[in-house]
Symmetry: C2
């Protein structure tokens, strides 16, 4: 009965790159569920790039985490105690419990997982938010056609890997960009991309050009930064650019050094009839049933594969998160909390 | 029989701002139509910002005009001689004869105009390419909903004026940006915009903010430059930005001075789920029948108005064109050739 809730709370906001000082590990009493609620023991916590945005006070599509508040995040948890008829102790659920070991949640905010159908961690990756981001963004905004070329960065990560594999299912050519030979090998050999380019190479622009002899029809933007400069000149007329992340600039603080690239961008938007479209996956929520159906089938058929990078211990979440922002993870980053 | 064809040809390419030296006025023999062709006498020549792009060798959506070649352009012309059964002398047609007094054209590239239905010059403006650019870009990409705010610059010009009036027909609020009090009065009083902002004002950003208390849902981009900086912070989540022109930067030569605005743009594309979409009207060619039907009706009902700025004499086309690039025209700029 002396067990306590371990929580990682936001202690301060980072000016640029986040550090350990921005987090506190605190212990609080295990909360008690009210009517219609359940008490959860968190088993897995998902770490994702969007969390960097939640640490900042800058206006975004979601409110910032308040100072002293538990860091947000998707979780796979086990029901310890239930005050809702649909749930019983032992059930495994997808919840949004954040960086902590225990949580109370409204039953209606949960989705029950079947451990016999798929490993429960996939609910945080290929069968969860990252997989759905890839699915909705690529199919709704990118709309790859057979024979077209789709380029995606962070191609060994859960979004990028899924984008490339869906592109190939649609008959398109998939070119992935990743950091280092090991990740590039994963992208090519395990995820089946047509080509993988190392963004650390000094010849990134030339390498990408060689891998895209017919130009680029869809660039799924999830990193920004230097990769953009290599992609931009290769975009074809009517190219589509779904923008779901800009991890390379999350830690940056403006104003940004010149030259100003905006006039060049807009010139090409005009002369090449480009489409640039930012999105957050929840905008496409009505596609979730189709996603669960298609993705489960593709995984079962071996047409979509995934890779997880599981780190033990909630206390290691900050360090793992810093690594994520620098591309040190190798696959979908998950914290095994208990 | 001594009549000759007067032609304005491209003599050289401008480094930045075009000048008289870039054009030559030459006289050549009147051409002779072949089988299936007609000989045309040009009555009206349309001058449009896109022609600046045709003067440059830079890759764009259309090939550059070659040195020594007649400048391109839409025209209203009269048939002098016909070798096609559908046309007879005296017919008035829409053609793409360029900056010259006479031309031979394939009959199948022409559209016959009925001078009793609408003034023939409207085929170069509100019922022609500029009107269709406004119609297709606003309705297909901008998709204004009732109660939303639509902003357009060059609002006294043929595209901008039409954008604002269609926006109002769709139940949206229309805010126009134009240069100087006289143009702003036109935008408000004749074209019926809800507000008109003078882009020459030192308080442009504040004025625009005051005119858009609910932010901006659609920004129809046809100018670029300083107006963009005023519009950008006011864009709402899910705002749509059809891009059909960037007249403010057509004469510019890169690299452009910093700070680099691209990271800020991309950040907002992401956090506000913005859509930026370049287009050329001919992409939407299948909408032309609907356009002719809707626009003719709106004009007949007095719901869409237009203004023309007609300059006499082909020899004055270069000077008038330079003025167009600086916003000196007052309505749709047309050269009365004969």
């Amino acid at each position: 009965m002396t067990e306590q809730n371990r929580q990682i709370v936001l202690a301060s906001r980072p000016a640029a790159r986040p550090s350990k000082d921005n987090f506190d590990l605190v212990r609080t009493p295990i909360p008690t569920p009210g009517e219609g609620q359940v008490l959860l023991k968190v088993r897995y916590l998902s770490l994702d790039p969007y969390m960097r945005g939640r640490m900042s006070a800058a206006k975004s599509y979601a409110a910032a985490v308040a100072i002293g508040q538990v860091m947000e995040g998707g979780t796979v948890a086990e029901v310890l105690e239930s005050r809702h008829p649909d749930y019983k102790p032992g059930d495994v659920v997808l919840s949004y419990s954040g960086w902590q070991s225990h949580a109370v949640a409204d039953a209606k905010a949960l989705r029950k997982l079947d451990p016999n159908q798929a490993p429960v961690t996939t609910a945080l990756g290929v069968l969860g938010m990252p997989g759905f981001t890839a699915y909705a963004g690529l199919l709704t905004i990118g709309r790859p056609k057979a024979g077209e070329t789709v380029v995606v960065a962070a191609a060994s990560g859960p979004v990028g890997a899924t984008v490339g594999q869906i592109a190939r299912i649609m008959g398109a050519r998939a070119v992935g960009i990743a950091g280092g030979p090991e990740k590039c090998a994963l992208v090519r050999d395990r995820f089946g991309f047509d080509a993988a380019i190392d963004h650390r190479s000094s010849t990134l622009a030339e390498d990408l050009r060689a891998a895209c002899p017919d130009g680029i029809d869809v660039y799924f933007e999830n990193v920004g930064g230097r990769v953009w400069d290599a992609v931009f000149p290769l975009l074809n007329t009517f190219a589509r650019i779904p923008v779901c992340g800009l991890i390379a600039q999350y830690n940056a603080t403006g104003p940004f050094e010149g030259p100003d690239r905006l006039p060049i961008l807009m010139r090409d938007v005009l002369t090449k009839s480009l489409t640039i479209r930012g999105f957050i996956q929840r905008e496409f929520g009505d596609q979730r049933p189709a996603f669960y159906r298609d993705m489960a089938q593709w995984i079962a058929e071996g047409r979509v594969r995934y890779k997880e990078d599981i780190v033990q211990g909630l206390e290691n979440a900050p360090e793992a998160f810093f690594g994520l922002l620098e591309g040190k993870n190798f696959g979908k980053l998950i914290i095994e909390v208990s």
